[in-house]
């Protein structure tokens, strides 16, 4: 959980750096922006691959339902604005942005990661914790990949922001940005906005990148007018860049 927050923070900082690099005197610093994009890529991978509520091993001390708690994709089914259900409740159906839930879950209480990372707002990168493994198996990648599809779908039909959930909106936008920016370096150098670029990446991507993530077509999203309207000014600047 804490990794996801750390990753989110790093993604925001990185995007800010890329944005402010545009007006820099002397032109774009290739080296620095490459490093920032690498950090962004790592943070993005962690952010997208780490579930909201990682499945607890059966040996965990807390009382568990018979079924293990669902991974983030299904947990995304929580209704907006409600406190996360205790782990022994079955998840409800319905689409929901996964990032938003994690944010609200964390704000209220540290939910199902009972045995780990329970310090809300802990500063600094926590060491890798056993049940919040950043490395995910191939099978789980498919699941981890699905949150990427959710923001994409949602981005195309701008949902009205639920009241009192500005924080979630921001997280949701960051998730949009991540899928838009993609894992390639394309957005940083081209004079054209990433939208006009044909399918960036795949060949050059790191082996660790999930195929599902690669399937998110950054270029096409940027072109969509309704998408551009929903993005906050920050992200619009990145798109133009």
């Amino acid at each position: 959980m804490e990794f996801k927050l750390e990753a989110h923070r790093i993604v925001s900082i990185s995007l800010g750096k890329i944005y402010s690099a545009r007006g820099q005197r002397g032109g774009l610093k290739l080296h620095k922006n490459l490093l920032v994009s690498l950090v962004l890529r790592s943070a993005r991978q962690v952010y997208l691959s780490e579930p909201c509520c990682p499945p607890e091993p059966p040996a965990a001390p807390r009382a568990l339902p018979e079924e293990p708690p669902p991974p983030c994709a299904a947990a995304a089914a929580w209704a907006p604005g409600e406190p996360p259900p205790p782990p022994d409740e079955a998840p409800r159906g319905g689409p929901r942005r996964p990032g938003a839930d994690c944010e609200s879950a964390r704000a209220r209480r540290c939910c199902c990661c009972g045995c780990c990372c329970c310090e809300a707002g802990g500063g600094g990168a926590a060491p890798p914790l056993p049940c919040c493994s950043r490395k995910r198996g191939a099978g789980e990648r498919g699941q981890a990949g699905s949150p990427v599809k959710k923001p994409r779908r949602e981005a195309e039909e701008p949902p009205p922001p639920p009241p009192g959930e500005q924080e979630d909106m921001e997280t949701g936008n960051v998730a949009n940005l991540i899928s838009i920016f993609g894992s390639s370096f394309s957005g940083l150098l081209g004079k054209d906005p990433p939208g006009r670029r044909r399918a960036p990446r795949d060949g050059g991507e790191a082996a660790a990148a999930a195929p599902a993530e690669a399937a998110a077509e950054p270029g096409q999203i940027c072109c969509d007018e309704p998408v551009l309207r929903t993005l906050n000014p920050w992200s619009t600047a990145i798109v133009a860049f």
């Binding site: 900082i13 002397g26 032109g27 080296h31 390639s184 370096f185």
Partner: protein, 440 residues
């Protein structure tokens, strides 16, 4: 080490002193050149030792100041080209004049520095001010004679090597053949002849066909001090590549690749950034290479590609603060490193105006501070210590009170003596080890 002199590099335009961006001794150590963010070069000269005043022996005084580069504008790309001097390299002296190369992001210039201490007097046709004489007043002819005058240092641009680089030039290196030099930008390295400005030869090109596939850039490069066919370049991924120009015209394929596998226990979001090599320097012997990355300096043996032979922690206490250092951009600071004349001690800068020296033989290290207090003439530098919790001694600095705006990125060591030049923002400090002024 004794505090010796401090110079504040003043732009003289009322805006205050300018940030020093490079420091370099010439091959004898008689001259010291600094470049700054405003495109100026200041050259210091060491006063010859005087038996009459032993305490003033070997002081460095300003010898010449000139504007090397001006801000330019690339109209095609709508980009300003900074005038900041990235690197200065001296040419070996071949006659009475001194020559140096200075570069900004795009253009390298060769400057010739000459002295004039005599001038001709007694012309027949012109008077002292140079005005033509009235011929009717000329009654006899005289032979002009050279009379001594106050020393004048003249600096002239002899060559301008322009349009060789698309990306930002990060290093230049003069070959031991004294005829060629190379310049490296983020993706390419060019070989130039010192006398030819209208063309250069590309010897390394790591630009991918698709820029989206870019994963690493060139961060520094240097010619081998003795073998004119060998050079090394470092990358943002922490690797070094030794190339042999005899092997092929385009040295994309390295002869040797020096790389240390990453320690998996240290993995973090910022592992890639902190492994990027910011500087590489051959030892004077030519047998070793010194590299600097964000937290360490490493000595590599040219014969061993798998790992460095020595690793020294510069400021490992920053490892837990990488996220904050990323936020305030300090993690991108590019520190340089230096060898002493006998390759027994290595030096590099850090934060809080600290700089570190590591003795390779005794394995002892020291942290010193470049500050006004420590630099009063003949004041002895006191070793400093950063405490990371636990027992705190008097005069220790805690990690949290380090000033990250005071960084020592550029340092230089005299080629033969224990004299060091430290650039701390806009101040230049020169320290001498008077006790051990002989090299051991």
């Amino acid at each position: 080490m004794e505090g010796e002199s401090i110079y504040e590099v003043d732009s003289g335009d009322g805006l205050g002193a300018d940030i020093i961006s490079t420091v370099e001794f010439n091959h004898t150590g008689e001259l010291l050149a600094t470049g700054d963010k405003g495109g100026r070069v200041v050259i210091f000269q060491r006063e010859p030792e005087s038996k009459n005043e032993p305490y003033s022996q070997g002081e460095y005084n300003v010898y010449s100041t000139f504007q090397s580069h001006e801000p330019e504008f690339d109209y095609l790309k709508s980009l300003e080209i900074e005038e900041k001097i990235n690197k200065i390299k001296w040419l070996p002296q071949q006659n009475a004049a001194h020559s140096l190369l200075s570069t900004n992001d795009k253009t390298i210039k060769l400057w010739k520095i000459t002295e004039r201490d005599k001038r001709p007097e007694g012309y027949n046709l012109k008077d002292e001010e140079g005005k033509l004489k009235d011929l009717s007043t000329v009654t006899s002819l005289q032979v002009p004679v050279l009379k001594p005058m106050d020393l004048m240092v003249e600096v002239t641009p002899r060559r301008i090597f322009a349009n060789g680089h698309t990306y930002h030039v990060n290093s230049i290196s003069v070959n031991s053949d004294c005829e060629t030099y190379m310049s490296a930008d983020d993706l390419r390295i060019n070989l130039w002849h010192l006398a030819i400005t209208d063309r250069s030869f590309n010897i390394v090109d790591i630009k991918p066909a698709n820029m989206e596939d870019l994963t690493e850039v060139i961060t520094a490069s240097e010619f081998h001090p003795h073998h004119c066919n060998l050079f090394v370049y470092s990358s943002s991924k922490g690797s070094l590549r030794l190339c042999d120009m005899r092997a092929s015209a385009l040295c994309d394929k390295h002869s040797k690749l020096y790389e240390e596998p990453e320690d998996p226990s240290n993995r973090s979001f910022f592992s890639e950034i902190i492994s990027s090599v910011s500087d590489v320097k051959f030892s004077h012997s030519g047998r070793y290479m010194l590299t600097r990355d964000y937290l360490t300096v490493k000595v590599w043996d040219l014969n061993m590609e798998t790992k460095p032979v020595e690793t020294y922690q510069v400021h490992d206490y920053l490892r837990s603060k990488l996220c904050s250092l990323y936020e305030n951009d300090c993690i991108f600071d590019k520190f340089e490193c230096a060898w002493n004349g006998s390759d027994s001690v290595i030096m590099t800068g850090a934060y809080n105006n600290f700089f570190r020296m590591f003795d390779r033989n005794t394995k002892r290290d020291v942290t010193l501070e470049a500050s006004r207090e420590s630099s009063k003439p003949r004041a002895i530098l006191k070793p400093r210590r950063v405490c990371v919790g636990g027992k705190r001694r008097k005069d220790d600095i805690s990690v949290d009170s380090l000033d990250f705006t005071k960084k020592i990125l550029h340092t230089a060591w005299h080629p033969t003596e224990n004299i060091i030049a430290i650039a701390a923002t806009n101040n230049l400090y020169i320290f001498q080890d008077k006790v051990n002024s002989e090299m051991h």
